[in-house]
Amino acid sequence: MEPKLRVENLSVWYQRQPALKHVTLSVEEGEVLALIGPSGCGKSTFLRTLNRLSEEQVGVRVSGSIMLGDLDIQESHVDVTQIRRRVGMVFQAPNPFPFSIFDNVAYGPRLQGVADPGTLRKIVEQSLRQAALWDEVRGKLRRPALALSGGQQQRLCIARALAVNPEVLLMDEPTASLDPLSTAKIEELVGALRGQYTIVMVTHNLRQAARISDRTAFFLDGALVEVGPTRQIFTAPQDNRTEQYLTGRFES
């Protein structure tokens, strides 16, 4: 089967400084791919090039190709907003807009021109259900999103991303700022979304990667060291740098 995302020879520079070097990596449809690696190795950079969010920053240069299906998203005639509707993103710190819960989730559909209240309500409910938040917020959709707890806010951000019906979901350390209980809920949620969405998730929590991902990719110093089935990476890594990292002999 064709992979959902095919990244070939991807390099990224901040000004002159290389942050990613010749990364080649495919993501299969419907799988959960975990990205691990020490701080500053380029995981976020990698994620942010997949929806071209990196180009909003100053002095970023990208080379190589990123195929989403059979579309090369790097090509200049491709409208970046279209890419981002197909590739959703959830950030490290929950960042709901200072609007109501409803308006947060309805934001993406409204951008695409959905104005009918009934349709919007349906999308919002469905997205909140998918993000396992519906039971906690039903009847309170007009409340400000910022009044939710951190874990609820993060699930709201996931619902917001799901509401535009993306094919790929990028998650950059989505549980880094959450308590253990909220973390467990998000992990459960990712498990439930597997198969339906293609998920690429950065995490610093190795056990989390082991628990929820199908495959794991290990980055070091801007390069992809190895990628393989999660079980294999954690039990029988091919590269001894991976083993050193997993056994805690790197600063992370």
């Binding site: 180009e55 200049s76 907003t81």
Partner: protein, 284 residues
Amino acid sequence: MSTPSVTDRMPRRTAGLAAGLFALVGIILVASLAAGAWPMLGAPRAAANLIGAVWDPLRGRYGVAPFVVGTAAVTLTALVIAVPIALGVAVSIVHQVGALGRGGILRVLTVLTAVPSVIFGWWGLQMVVPWVRAHVGGPGFSLLAAGIVLALMILPTLSLFFAQALSKVPNTLKEGSAALGATPDQTLLRVELPFAMPALVNGLVVGLARALGETMAVQMVVGGQTAIPAGLAAPGATLTTQIFTDMTAFPPGTAGHAVLDIMALLLLAAMYVLVRTAERWGSR
């Protein structure tokens, strides 16, 4: 940013157009003043005439020195009076008012920054001019009266800036100093003021700009005399008040109006220098 989205093209162009128009307005402002000033600058012995101390348009003498001196005297007087008081207000706000009252005081100060300058001018005529006449001598209309009125006018702005500067000093620094046995005074002098200095200077520059540019409040009490003033208690005029009083007296195109344009350019240049100074100091 390299490839903006299609939906961004029109808005980006519109916003860019507005910014271009903004820059154009700035250029037209300077250009129209320069165009007005041009005939005067080309006149024989222009520099000597302009730098001169005699303002006598009927005889073609256009020395701007009296106004430069007047502006400097009024502004300095205002700062000398207002800066210590503003520092006092700021220290009191930061150290002696609880967090609750502080918000209220800052709001009141903000409202006071919006008191129109004519009202200060009115008060100057009502109280300051008679007071100067009675206690300092002279006609009362004077550089001193203008300085006092101006001092009160820039006081809220200065106080706000100073209070903000002082409140940004981290508590850990103050406590650290106190823990070493410094008295509150010593902490204020040796830790808080030095730490806040860039922000204080920035506030000072803003206050200075306001004082330099004020027209109405000064014009109402300064007396309008166009000779080099004999002292603070003597009447005088400033660059702004002279532009104000003479711009309708000398229609555009006359030499008198051209000199006003030169004075305006001088003020604009001064403001640009102040802006750059504040930028350099404020970002330290």
